[in-house]
Symmetry: C2
């Protein structure tokens, strides 16, 4: 497996584009952004029909685009050719939401000469404000005409809201005697919490794979990547991951378990795990990536629950921002995780590029150098290593620190 | 029922005291405090033996004082005479924790001429630092000698950590032909989350009531008061509520259900609900009390879960701090609450002393005046009123806004 460039356009047969059509009030939405991004409307297109898998938010309040996309996938038996997505407005909790979301599908479909049902639609931004459809109507020709094999960056910036960097990742690997590729793009960066396919994520691949195995791979990998991510504990109404496979790599179609399926899953994990880390590191206001690895667990689910509990602790997130080795808050968060284990066997270390400090052995504190700990915590990527010492399963979870800027960004998001 | 002064010393036969013994480095712990509080060691005492009920944290990491108190109550069949409590150090995750906690019981017991097992012990503060016992040994004589019927304030300040005000409440009521009293004190103000008897709370009463009914009353009221409170989603290792009843009111002992038991529960609710509101309003860094009332629910548990989901939403807490009527985040938090209901019937209003604004009807946004909403949100006590319109049960929950100061306080708590 090899990391490659090109994001969602890396796999054969996928084109993309992104434009500024005027849903955002100005054409620069986030002054603090490290990636300049004026765009607010994005498109992904494959002429070859794609077998498609998707995962949606578990929030009872579902964005209109989620409802329309679900219906579309049902109608076409999960065959799609395009994604249309806007930022700045979530098109959620609006009386005319479904009508507008379907209208977005129709606008794209007409210009692309496909069926409206073959279009996935997504929106991200403020909840409960009416989506202005005119900018999309006016922009659709430019959006479609500008589709290109290098359009991944334009699309990846079109989905950004409070994100400060675009998020893309792609890999290639060999399966069934052919080179296959998987590419992805994602947006964060607040209202992000496990329990569903947090955030908007669009994954493309040219691998030939059956609908059933594609969905199975997506479900398995979402569980250990996006669903192990938390920025703030809030579960969005519009979360979606879509995975489109057009088969143009011409490998022998993956239709069951076996080596090719495992290779495909490993590549999908690489793409989604790296996007997950990018999302965590670019969490609203974040200055540090927090990675928690929980090993020595009696079962996989417990490992996930404990790792997520630690990265979700508001208090530990604040301590991390303050670069304070307040390990008692780690142990506290392990303790309230909803899993069964013996707390008196738990070891905890904190690690970064600057070294490792042992803070807890067998559930009790260990004397350590505050100076050494401070140096380690000064890094912008921190690992918390937990060993339960009561089994062989492990899991990872990703989060970030809680900062003044998170509060600032979210104290006044609508204006 | 009538509100009275005196806190934990209001009921007959209870004395209290609080001193500065030197567990805190300086004798002024919190420069921002609205209540000056140098104290770090508190005591409550009833010469008459007390029937006792208690509720403890559900965190698997349990403070040593929790373990020792549980053992003591088992040994004496829930008969106690005193509480000793320190702040600044949680005495948790220390190898010598239980030994030190029991030593605190022994020190108090010796001076009070009671058995060590008749003493409840509690600690609050930093986790994982060795508790210095010398200051307590040196201070115990002063602590006991200073016991008085007016010592409630000295005790209430001795349990403060990042709290900015002391928290006391007391009521009197008639039961079994006698005037009975209930008094309480509590401390917050971070690492506070439902799922147990969040925070340290000590309740005293002179009501005569059986151990069984006392525990039943406490369990019922904790569920709808402290357990409906969240500051930051973190469940402390040291949470405890104790309720001591010495029977000196000489009412006919409450030994079963009936009017007296209901009256007692109403009075206990008044004390614990008001302490809960004080804890929420004084949450770390908080500028606003957030009260969420969820009505029209199919069952009580759903009402509690939904109300708690709203007051726990990090994003809505930030919006509240920014006085931004971002009601979509309320609906989002209702939507991810783990309860079964029809989101399309939900109404939401936001209310304060300055008026009420309707923001959502039947699950969809309603046009409202941003100016009127801003005025309403400028109050320091905000109510979110949710009507599910699908039943007759209701519940309340309490929280606060998320502010720069919360991050500041918790970025550097240990130093």
């Amino acid at each position: 497996m090899e990391i490659i460039s090109g994001g969602i356009c890396a796999p054969k047969g996928f084109k993309a584009n992104g434009i500024y059509c005027g849903i955002k009030k100005t054409n620069i939405d986030n002054q603090n952004s490290k990636t300049p991004h004026k765009n607010d409307l994005g498109l992904i297109f494959s002429e070859a029909v794609c077998t498609t898998a998707a995962v949606y938010t578990t929030n009872k309040v579902k964005g209109a685009p989620i409802i329309v996309t679900k219906k579309n996938l049902e109608k076409t038996n999960k065959k799609t050719k395009a994604v249309i997505v806007n930022s700045k407005n979530a098109n959620t909790c609006n009386a005319d939401g479904e009508e507008k979301a379907y209208r977005m599908c129709c606008l794209a479909a007409e210009k692309l000469a496909v069926k409206p049902e073959e279009v996935i639609v997504a929106s991200t931004g403020v909840i409960g404000q009416v989506l202005p459809i005119e900018p999309i109507e006016n922009g659709i020709s430019d959006l479609v005409n500008g589709l290109s094999e290098n359009g991944n960056e334009a699309a990846a910036t079109a989905i950004m809201t409070t994100d400060t960097i675009k998020k893309e990742y792609a890999v290639q690997f060999e399966a069934g005697g052919r080179i296959c590729k998987i590419g992805g793009m994602a947006k964060g960066s607040g209202m992000i919490h496990p329990n569903m396919a947090t955030t908007l994520n669009f994954i493309t691949t040219d691998t030939a794979i059956s609908a059933e195995m594609l969905q199975k791979a997506l479900d398995d990998i979402v569980k250990v990547t996006y669903n192990c991510l938390s920025i703030d504990g809030d579960t969005s109404t519009n979360d979606m991951v879509s995975l489109m496979a057009n088969g143009l790599a011409e490998n022998k179609e993956i239709t069951g378990f076996g080596e090719d399926f495992e290779t495909f899953k490993s590549a999908l994990y690489a793409v989604m795990m790296n996007l997950t880390k990018m999302l965590a590191k670019d969490g609203e206001g974040a200055t540090k990536l927090l990675e928690c690895k929980c090993t020595g667990c009696p079962d996989k689910d417990s490992a996930i629950i404990i790792a997520k509990s630690v990265i979700g602790s508001t208090l530990f997130k604040c301590a991390l921002f303050g670069e304070d080795a307040n390990w008692g808050r780690i142990l506290c968060a392990i303790g309230y995780a909803d899993a069964e284990f013996d707390i008196t066997k738990v070891d905890v270390d904190i690690k970064s590029e600057f070294g490792t400090v042992t803070v807890c052995r067998s559930g009790a504190g260990v004397a350590f150098s505050e100076d050494a700990a401070a140096k380690i915590l000064s890094s912008d990527e921190i690992q918390v290593l937990i060993n339960l010492n009561q089994g062989n399963e492990s899991a990872m979870a990703w989060g970030c620190d809680l900062t003044y800027d998170y509060v600032k960004i979210n104290g006044d998001y609508r204006t």
